[in-house]
Symmetry: C2
C-alpha cells in the first residue's frame, strides 16, 4: 500500500502511527531505530527498549484516535491527533519525527499532562 | 516576500508566527479572523478580541523562539517550535491552524502546562 506522492518521512510516521494505534506494538517497533531519542513531557527516553516500555504503557490507555493533520518531507514528519482515553477525547497531541532509512531516530512528543490526568475526586 | 512554492495556509501561518514572535501584535492580528476559535490547554478563546488578549499575554513572556518544523497545504498548517521564556527553553509547542482567505479561523495549540510553570520554590 505505497503511495508515491507521500514523502518518505511522512510514510514512515504514518505507518508507525497506524501500527501503535491499532495496538500492534511489534509492528510499531519495526519503525523505531535502535538508538531512538524521544522527548516527552516529563520524560526522556533513550533506545528502543525504553521506548517499547513507554509506548506499550500508553497503548493500554488508548481507546481510539482521531488524526487531524499529517505532514512531512524527506527527513521530518509531524502528526497532530486526539488520543481517546478513558479520561479524555478532546486533548490534542503532536509528534515531530526525524526519520532516516525508514526508521524513526528522534521523536518529540507534546501534550498537556493535566489534560490527560484522571478527573479530580 | 512571497514564495510561490509555499502552500497558502502555511504562508499565512508563517507570516503570523513571524509577527507575534517579533513582538508585533498588530501585525499578528492582521492574520486572525474576526470569529477565530482557539483551543489551548485549559482555555478556549472565541473571537479576535479575546485572542488578542491571550496572545498579548503570552508575548510578554517570550524571549526568543526556535522553530523546528513548519508544514501545510491549502487549508491547514502545523508549526512545531520551542518558545523561550524566563522559565524554559526546551519545552515544545505545536499549533495546528485552519486558514481561509489568508486568515486563521481556527487554531489548536498544544503545550505541556507544567513544563512552562515557574520553578517550584
Amino acid at each position: 500500500m505505497t503511495h508515491p506522492s507521500i514523502p518518505p518521512a511522512l510514510a514512515t510516521a504514518l505507518a508507525y502511527h497506524d501500527a501503535w494505534t491499532s495496538q500492534d506494538l511489534d509492528r510499531a517497533m519495526t519503525y523505531i531505530a535502535r538508538d531512538i531519542s524521544c522527548y516527552a513531557p516529563g520524560a526522556q527516553i533513550s533506545g528502543a527498549g525504553q521506548y517499547r516500555d513507554f509506548l506499550g504503557g500508553f497503548m493500554t490507555q488508548l481507546t481510539a484516535v482521531e488524526t487531524v493533520a499529517a505532514f512531512g518531507d524527506d527527513t521530518t514528519a509531524v502528526l497532530f491527533y486526539y488520543p481517546h482515553t478513558a479520561n479524555t477525547s478532546d486533548a490534542p497531541t503532536a509528534e515531530c519525527f526525524t526519520v532516516a532509512d525508514g526508521k524513526i531516530t528522534r521523536s518529540v512528543l507534546v501534550f498537556d499532562r493535566p489534560s490527560f490526568a484522571p478527573p479530580q475526586r
